[in-house]
Point group: C2
Chain length 430, copies 2
């Protein structure tokens, strides 16, 4: 690789502009660590006039990022627009075809088009790096690709969405409901003001799970959604009850090999307050890797925000400048196999069930009989009457049962007039 | 780099023999991930007949490792003997001079001769890799060198010695004293049967601190020992009292920049039971990095044993086979500066002090007066009389004070006939 490296940054939102500043202030350090002199030769954003934290050099500004390829010689391009398709995909595609290395934090793009883009990168003998796409500043992808490279990984899981974790933590801390805490999160910049849905419904975490699976198990990126639930339906009441049971609700992303089939899921879990994962609070992310021979490895850090994201983007940059590995997913695309999806019906968990019922004779036995019919056995049952309105809350912790069983069992409760709302189900983690 | 790579493994103790088995069983995977075919062409140990977990091919056995260089063409050599000087150093030196890449888990060697050996490696344009020397299977060095490469790190600290952490955890769990738990640790292979001193007196952790400092701060390996204490003097009584105070005793290794001076220390700390570090139990290791812009990053995993160590040794191997970075400490040796040592006298902490005294009037005021004389103010004081023998235990938690103050203040207690033994001091973390 030559000494002088030309860089383009496409997308000047929070991440792009922070990155640009880091690139400018850390040129000397980057030269010291890699022997390369970097030079930002092009930047692009929709609106040059938008108010930004750091100044943009107007002489290198492009309104249309695709124009960069026509007039500038670029060696490495940062894509920081962040959509799964459209201009993000077009820019990355064009860059790779022009033998330009690409670095991106865009998990939507990689989880959807990663295989195709990786092939483009390999065919053109350039890098496609996306460390920042999973768990912000935590060097998790590099750890799987390099630090734990020859381990046989059986499971990767953790807290992959800082927004959800912040909301769950604050609901518990402040004893306040979902929508109030969401507003607070939006105010603080932890949740998107316009449309926070992707963070809250599990999509964001699921995209990360997919990228982790492909790296951990050397497979193509899966297309299945085994089971995806977000935190939107978590009520303060469940957080309070969890608390009494020495449990805590966390949104976990899990990728696991079960009988050589891939099981990927994102859903809220009740975890022990004493567990490691139960003590990862606020916007922190944590990833746990179970592998052989290394045992259990944990990586924890800030999962979002321009600082941590830039940290990962620059680690990708240094990797490229040092001439490091070329394969986006660690091994050649041709060697990455498709993998069958594990049947979610066979997924086994203990369950937390909450029923809101009329407080009258026979209701409890209706519930327990129906559970028994589906061979779901009860480990713990707590009935709390509300004398005032003649209602009661029944919380049941079950022994382990399959997803199929619980789905079938719960579906019939819909029809019952004494069960006041559809029962709440939260899986217990292990 | 050519396709067929010849490998030598020197030292066939627990780690060496496990590694050898991994190299044999993972050849295909390594080829898949790097495109290289590895071939173990030489092994060496003192005694060919020693009973080992895996079989050794006698046709490639060398009693004297230095003979390997005369008769075999080796590309990469693993040194797994483990001494800081002598044959370990000689083998590594000779290999590097012969343009052979070296991989070692030997923290004693690297912390003592790392600068010299790194220069040899750089001069001969080969790699010297030592990921396994710090925190076993945790990819901490690679994370600092690569994953967090452009962060400004201000502090690295954590639990770096699994043996000590196991003993402290078990003393608390089993309510048993140091020497009994040490025996158990030796039986289980967590502490060396012959001479466990290096693990227990802080030396082992200090060697790791030195390596971490050099990488985190881009400096030469320091020669100073600011402050090193092990866990040998920790009594069950202090663990019990800590427990009552919602604290827990942990042996921490800390490396920090204070006013651009390097502060390195290993000593027992009282940490909150609610803190992350207070919940790292048994043989686990954990490293916490404070950096900008990434924030706080935590890496936790198994810190010792042949499995985790082999995981790191193989990650080094893959890095070399992929043709990755050459500089052992991330930047050229000529750019790594020496750094002044922070004056330990200025180190500031709250202190836990335990006095065993005669239970008679005036003793408490003697103690408090002397503390006052050195401007050490008391935050909390608990006096527990033992009516039977007319003695008492006085525990004092102080406000923050300097090392110099506490040293001067405590030294005078030696002379007192009512103070039955030299007071116990354990620093509080933060």
């Amino acid at each position: 690789m030559k000494i002088n490296i030309n860089i383009a940054v496409v997308g000047l939102g929070q991440v792009g502009i922070y990155l640009l500043n880091e690139l400018n202030t850390k040129r000397k350090e980057i030269e010291l660590k890699t022997g390369k002199k970097i030079n930002v030769v092009a930047v692009s954003a929709r609106d040059i006039k938008k108010k930004r934290q750091f100044k943009v050099n107007k002489n290198i500004f492009f309104k249309n990022p695709l124009d960069i390829f026509k007039s500038k010689k670029v060696d490495i391009l940062f894509e920081a627009i962040g959509t799964s398709d459209g201009i993000s995909k077009k820019v990355v595609e064009t860059a790779l075809k022009n033998k330009i290395h690409v670095i991106t934090p865009n998990k939507a793009l990689i989880s959807k088009h990663g295989d195709y883009l990786a092939k483009l990168a390999e065919d053109n003998n350039v890098n496609l790096e996306f460390e920042a796409s999973v768990a912000g500043g935590i060097p998790i992808l590099r750890s799987i690709k390099e630090g734990l490279a020859t381990n046989k990984i059986s499971k990767v899981y953790g807290i992959l969405n800082g927004t959800s974790n912040y909301i769950l933590s604050e609901m518990e801390n402040l004893n306040d409901n979902f929508s109030n805490i969401l507003k607070k999160a939006q105010k603080l910049g932890y949740a998107e003001p316009g449309n926070p849905k992707l963070d809250l419904n599990g999509s964001d975490a699921f995209a990360k799970v997919r990228i982790l699976s492909a790296l951990a198990f050397n497979t193509k990126i899966s297309k299945h959604k085994c089971l995806m639930q977000g935190i939107e339906k978590i009520e303060l009441k469940d957080i309070e009850i969890a608390n009494q049971l020495n449990l805590r609700i966390k949104l976990l992303g899990i990728s696991e090999l079960k009988n050589n089939e891939l099981f990927e899921t994102v859903h809220p879990c009740m975890v022990s307050k004493k567990s490691y994962i139960g003590n990862v609070h606020g916007v922190m992310n944590a990833v746990i890797i179970e592998g052989k021979p290394v045992g259990e490895s944990i990586l924890q850090g800030e999962g979002a925000g321009p600082g941590p994201t830039s940290s990962s983007l620059l680690s990708d940059l240094l990797s490229i400048l040092r001439g490091n590995i070329k394969k986006p997913f660690g091994i050649p695309g041709s060697k990455r196999k498709s993998i069958k999806c594990y049947n979610v019906n066979n997924y086994v968990n203990s369950l937390y069930l909450r029923f809101e019922v009329k407080d009258k004779p026979g209701v409890l036995s209706t519930i327990t009989n129906r559970l028994a019919k589906y061979k779901i056995s009860i480990k713990r049952l707590i009935q709390t009457p509300n004398k005032k309105n003649n209602k009661a809350t029944i919380v049941i912790i079950t022994h382990k049962t399959t997803e199929l069983n619980s789905k079938n069992c719960l579906s019939i409760f819909k029809k019952d007039k004494d069960i006041l709302k559809f029962p709440i189900l939260i899986r217990l983690y292990n």
